[in-house]
Subunit: 221 residues, 2 copies
DNA sequence: GCATGTGAATGGATTCACAGCT
DNA sequence: AGCTGTGAATCCATTCACATGC
């Protein structure tokens, strides 16, 4: 079948792997700040309760980066992951919905440094337009999305509106040319094939915990 | 090996399955509001781009609930899932951190109806203590956690503080008797075995999108 | 000696395909 | 006929175990 390879000449990298790379990256930044020069897969493994072979496999996805008998060079590996994840140049982001959640995301530490730049929030509420978030990100008119995206070179859209408005925002994002969207509204969006959509569902996470609690209560204590 | 069964007499239900049950539940609530009486696995399947066999397997985890040739009774299945997920009685929740994110979560639509009740936010900042969220959830002193949890019968804790304070909050939560914790801080927490911990990492999700964008740029267009 | 990189083995989750009920 | 429930088959992810190189 030979299928369509998503990566050029390397393996197809799964989303699970990518998520872990992201986690490793954070750890490497920390190790670098501690001036640790090298790190072994075993050391990373017990930091994250993972298997060291998995880490080696993850890191070996794109070429050989460690040295046998020694481990991985922290700075070099970090730089490499940054490039591999595509955040070696800043990605511009717009957030739809300047309510509590949108504001929280706009000011969320760790977004605006290192790879992502939130250029604006957009909202339909005239009372909010023209103001800005605590950290100074402006709230613009939702209707201006089509101008903002190309002008500011925005690539990623975040949906932080209520469930009933989410689909419409999704359509506007797609219409404005965004191809990567992160959704926080608790709905199943009808998605376009060419657009990457990730959803973060707060409610599902709470229900997972509830399920766990229930398990304690009535099953295995 | 026979292992430790998490469920009493049924199968062990994985987290992936539980997450989907959660999604089905939301859909069933919608269908009920539309007065649709029955639903087939095929209908649910294309709503979520899933395989119908998977849905049947998921739903068959706990006894037979459909009728062959017909499908599933919407209301009955919904009630069943609610019981199965353990939200047939309200679960009380406390949020640590009354910043943007904590406030956003406190007022997040869909938490406070149906199964979850956020009883309070806690914070160390004296300027915030005594106030309350837009929807009226009070901000109490972080130091009172040990009283609040038993008094209000809190079961779930949400960490909505900065990365550097997260581990300490985690310890306080565990110390106060919580056994299910949802973490929004971008750190790998050192976890206690007996406590269920779920982490939602905003940054990882953005990096996933960035990786996708990068793939378009330089690999397969 | 020590830690990587990787085929082979295992373990889960998803999908297929069909028997069985209504 | 239609749709569920489920063993069997398939696919994907993780782990093992070891050859390879520093």
């Amino acid at each position: 079948m030979a299928q369509n390879r998503t990566q050029t000449d390397h393996e197809v990298i799964s989303e699970l792997t990518t998520g872990r790379l992201s986690v490793y990256l954070r750890c490497l930044s920390y190790l670098e700040s501690i001036h640790q020069e090298t790190v072994s897969s075993a050391e990373l493994a017990d930091r994250f309760h993972l298997n060291s072979a998995q880490i080696r496999k993850d890191l070996a996805c794109f070429g050989e980066f460690g040295t046998r008998g020694v481990g991985y060079n922290v700075s070099r590996l970090k730089e490499h992951l940054i490039r591999e994840l595509g955040i070696d140049r800043p990605r511009n982001v717009v957030i739809a919905g300047a309510g509590n959640l949108g504001m929280a995301l706009a000011d969320y530490g760790g977004f605006n440094d290192n790879g992502f730049r939130i250029v604006a929030l957009v909202d339909v509420d005239p009372a909010k337009i023209g103001r800005s978030s605590r950290s100074g990100i402006p709230v613009l008119a939702y209707s201006d999305l089509k101008q903002i995206v190309p002008e500011q070179n925005v690539e990623i859209g975040i949906i932080a509106v209520t469930a009933d408005a989410a689909q419409e925002v999704y359509e506007s994002f797609v219409g404005a040319g965004l191809t990567a969207i992160l959704n926080f509204a608790p709905v199943q969006l009808r998605a376009h094939g060419q657009v990457k959509l990730k959803s973060v569902d707060l409610r599902i996470n709470l229900e997972l915990l509830s399920f766990y609690l229930k398990g304690i209560e009535d099953g295995t204590a």
